[in-house]
Amino acid sequence: MCKTCKENPVIIIQGNKPLCKGCFMKYFEKKVFWTIRQYNLIDKKDIIAVGVSGGKDSLTLLYLLNKVLTPQKTKFFGLLIDEGIKGYRNITIEDAKKFCKENGIELKIISYKKEFGNTLDEMLKQKKINACALCGVLRRYLINKYARKYGATKIATGHNLDDEAQSILMNQLKGNMAFSAKLGPKTGVLTHDQFIPRIKPLYFLTEKETTTFSKLKNLPVTFIECPNHKDSFRDEVGKMLSNLEAKYPGTKQSVVNSLLQVLPSLAKQFKGQKIGTCKKCKEPAAKDLCKVCELLKR
């Protein structure tokens, strides 16, 4: 029975609490709005570029931001990166378009093909490279570049508790603590006048909770998995964390809490890292060339 009102539960949330549909929806929205307030994620005068993939996380985020930002007249728009992944992105793009049209939200679409000359599928045929490593770099580059171009002051992404716990553990396992200094509900240590700060309003909600919310809200989501995600390092770490979560509930939250405890000292330690400007494309870069120009040899 639901812990609060004794109705039939739809989910057992973090802390082993069964909740019915009504109580779960209230819990979910309350947690998102609390995160926004607690971490000062959004100012009324901000212009928010919402990173949209058309999946459950980004459409849930867009739904909730529409609910909170429209009444307070804060400007926002959807920004979708079309990597060109056949059988996946072409489907989720249609979901994003449908949702934005129904809710009167502006959606801007930027494609790898137009920007880089090739789709991700074509690039992977030409290069022997890990798909997620390449795609992550290209996507972050385009999101930052176009959010800035369209006047955004913040980029909101649909990253959830699972994504964050996975990133923390992946960085730990690979010894990349400097990367962990960039995590948290809002942008970490790196500053550059071309960088748009990032915020993660779904930060404290699990992947199961966002999936349940999107399903119960009947958001137009096609539940499909990126074909490149299977067997990736992130997928392996994600499975390991979910196995631990089932055995020891609260594991994912503990991983994230442990980062939040040390984040101020991590940020202090890695603050000296200088970010320059790419000699070729003039976007932010840690070296002479940014990662995109280096990877694509352009």
């Binding site: 039939n8 539960p9 739809v10 989910i11 057992i12 069964p18 549909k21 993939s53 999946g55 459950k56 996380d57 990597e83 992944i85 996946y88 795609c135 699990t206 992947e207 199961k208 966002t210 999936t211 349940t212 399903k215 119960l216 539940f223 499909i224 998995e225 990126c226 490149n228 995600h229 299977k230 990736s232 992130r234 997928d235 994600g238 979910s242 196995n243 979560e245 089932a246």
Partner: protein, 68 residues
């Protein structure tokens, strides 16, 4: 009791037999699926894994993993 189960991630339908009085958690254990990784729908309604199941219930297991 006999159940029709649709596993979305593998896009496959399975017929599963379980003892009377079983719960969805028992079903997931039998199928070796981690409850953390799926949203369960029983006869079209989203339910928690503690729900009891009965003969001829239609179960759908929706993977929460999307990636990207």
């Amino acid at each position: 009791m006999k159940l029709d189960v649709f596993i979305e991630r593998e896009n496959k339908k399975e017929k599963v037999e379980l003892p009377e009085g079983s719960t969805l958690k028992d079903l997931l254990t039998k199928l070796k699926i981690n409850p953390v990784t799926v949203v369960i729908s029983k006869n079209g309604e989203v339910v928690a894994e503690i729900a009891k199941i009965k003969d001829k219930d239609k179960i759908e297991l929706l993977s929460v993993v999307s990636g990207g």
